[in-house]
């Protein structure tokens, strides 16, 4: 049950884990903005992809949009009680 101890270890230090994650996110954006490290000239297909942190914004906005729009769609009549098809 060493795995369980590992999970407990991380859960007990949730604050630290969150901080580490935030630092990683920040680093990711910084690294992306450095042309010497990430070659955008040869790989990007469109102009917006060359903007720093474009894909970070894409991921975040995409995620929020998917959740909000899907839930709106679901509550517009698609989500029904579980016995909907029962007779």
């Amino acid at each position: 049950m060493r795995l369980l101890r590992w999970i407990e270890f991380l859960r007990n230090r949730l604050r630290t884990v969150v901080w580490v994650c935030l630092v990683v996110l920040g680093l990711l954006v910084v690294v992306d903005a450095l042309p010497g490290l990430v070659d955008k000239e040869h790989h990007a297909h469109t102009a917006p992809e060359r903007w720093p942190a474009f894909w970070a914004v894409f991921g975040f906005v995409g995620c929020v949009a998917l959740i909000v729009l899907s839930k709106w769609f679901g509550h517009a009549g698609i989500m029904q009680r579980e016995d909907y098809y029962d007779e």
Binding site: L66, I67, E82
Partner: protein, 597 residues
Amino acid sequence: MSDWWVHPASILILGGLLLRWVPARFKRAYLLLVPLLVFGRILGLTHGTFGQVQFLEWTLVFGRVDALSTVFGYIMSLMCLLGTLYGLHVRDDGQHLAAWTYVGGSLGAIYAGDLLTLFLFWELMALSSVFLIWCRRRPESLGAGFRYLLVHTAGGVALLAGIVLHGQATGGDLTFGAFDVKAPTLATYLIMTGFILNAAVPPLHAWLPDAYGEATFNGSVFLCAFTTKTAVYALCRGFAGMEILVPLGVIMALYGVVYAVLENDCRRLLAYHIISQVGYMVAGVGLGTELAINGACAHAFAHILYKGLLFMGCGAVLHMTGQSKFTELGGLYQKMPWTFLFTLLGGLSISAFPLFSGFVSKSMIVAAGFEEHKLWAGFLLMLASVGTFLHTGLKVPYFIWFGKNHCRPETWARAAEPPWNMNAAMAVASILCVFIGCYTPYLYQMLPYPVDYHPYTAYHVSETLQVLLFTAVGFFLLICKLEPEPTISLDMDWFYRMGGRAFRWLARQPVQLLDTCVGELYRVAGMVPLMRSARLAGRFDQSVIDGLVDGLAHSIRGLGQRLRAVQRGHVQQSLAVALGVAALFILLFLLFSSDPR
């Protein structure tokens, strides 16, 4: 048969048929041996055309072995081995037989060189896989199985109609090769409809979550791999470059993601993600370039493993707790930590995290989209990746193993790590997912075209990590909106489920009313006059005919009675009396008439 060629499917089907006569103590070894033999047979196949059989005026080709069929045959047989290992402890021979026949159908379709053989195995797949749903033996499973069967029968009919029309147009040539995608005919569209129904392209997709959410815990592990990916193979073979498949694939990729947000059942959620992931492959087939077809094949290969792994993880939860709904689960990391780890690895693979299998396969298709200047397709597929990580990478592990504990006491008491064989199958699948992601030549060398693609560029890694990790930020910020709700989501199956009900109402109400009206009309206009005329005829018969006959008989009887009264005694007596009287009269006459002289 033109030559002796052992079809891999025949080993599986024969092995399945013999299963019930295998003694119980050898059964587990046998269950592993047969898929191993099949895997070995597939490794030993050489390229070429084998197993040709003359049937009427057609040549059936059972063994077309080339680069495309080899990569699919390889992964299908590998998945069969993993799926069987996962369900090794299941003491239901029927279920193993159904699963193996189903895989046999898939292998048969993959190695088929003509459309008739393809159709034969295509239908075998549908017919055998339905038992994996029925074997769960819930009342709901029965209905889900019948719906699954009916939808696939409809697809099979479309496929057969297409094959017949195609054969007519080509003068009987039924070779299964690339169709003319630039000038598609009705036959081409019908065959494509048969294929895309099995690939679960909306609006022909609702059978998939309906069935895969309802199958047995190990049945879904098989189901998630074979039907859709055999269809992807068939599309790669026949419809590479068919333009319409690009938008259809992109729609699929997003459709699955949207429904996954709403889903409360973890296996149905995974099923919607099959639709989403197969969307990438269908779009890749539509793009049709060498990179795109390689991408479709690579993604199918990787997908079979990680989706199998995810279904194994959720299947283990279902098997051990009896629950598959997020609203009935939560906090299980304390009870099933290893299952959590394996499922998480599957989630990272499907989300295309660097060093995992999805990263090296999915990106080929997206890159092909961008290279073909279909920018909209590229960006929308990237958006679908956001949704994939959101649900399969985050929502599934979080709401089953962490989050609020919704487990009922009995669920919590039952929960434990699954049997060793299930863990072993998950471990092997996990290792393969990581191996494919880390060592790209393993997969790339199997692909049908030479690969000149390098996924591990700084740009691609940076792009992927940004998209995925900022998706995680969005997930944790909006986690309250993602709290599971005990609902079901209406999908296209609404039309045939409610349509069936409408048909039944139609049969019960208007059709029955019409039937009653016609019956009444028949009674009033037909039966009543008929009865009346019959009654009249009866009366005529009784009073006139019977009267006449009876009267005659009556008269004869009366006459007889009278004659009887007149007639008495014996005839001899009467004759004697008559003769006596006559003699007396004669004597008297002689006496009185004699001359007195």
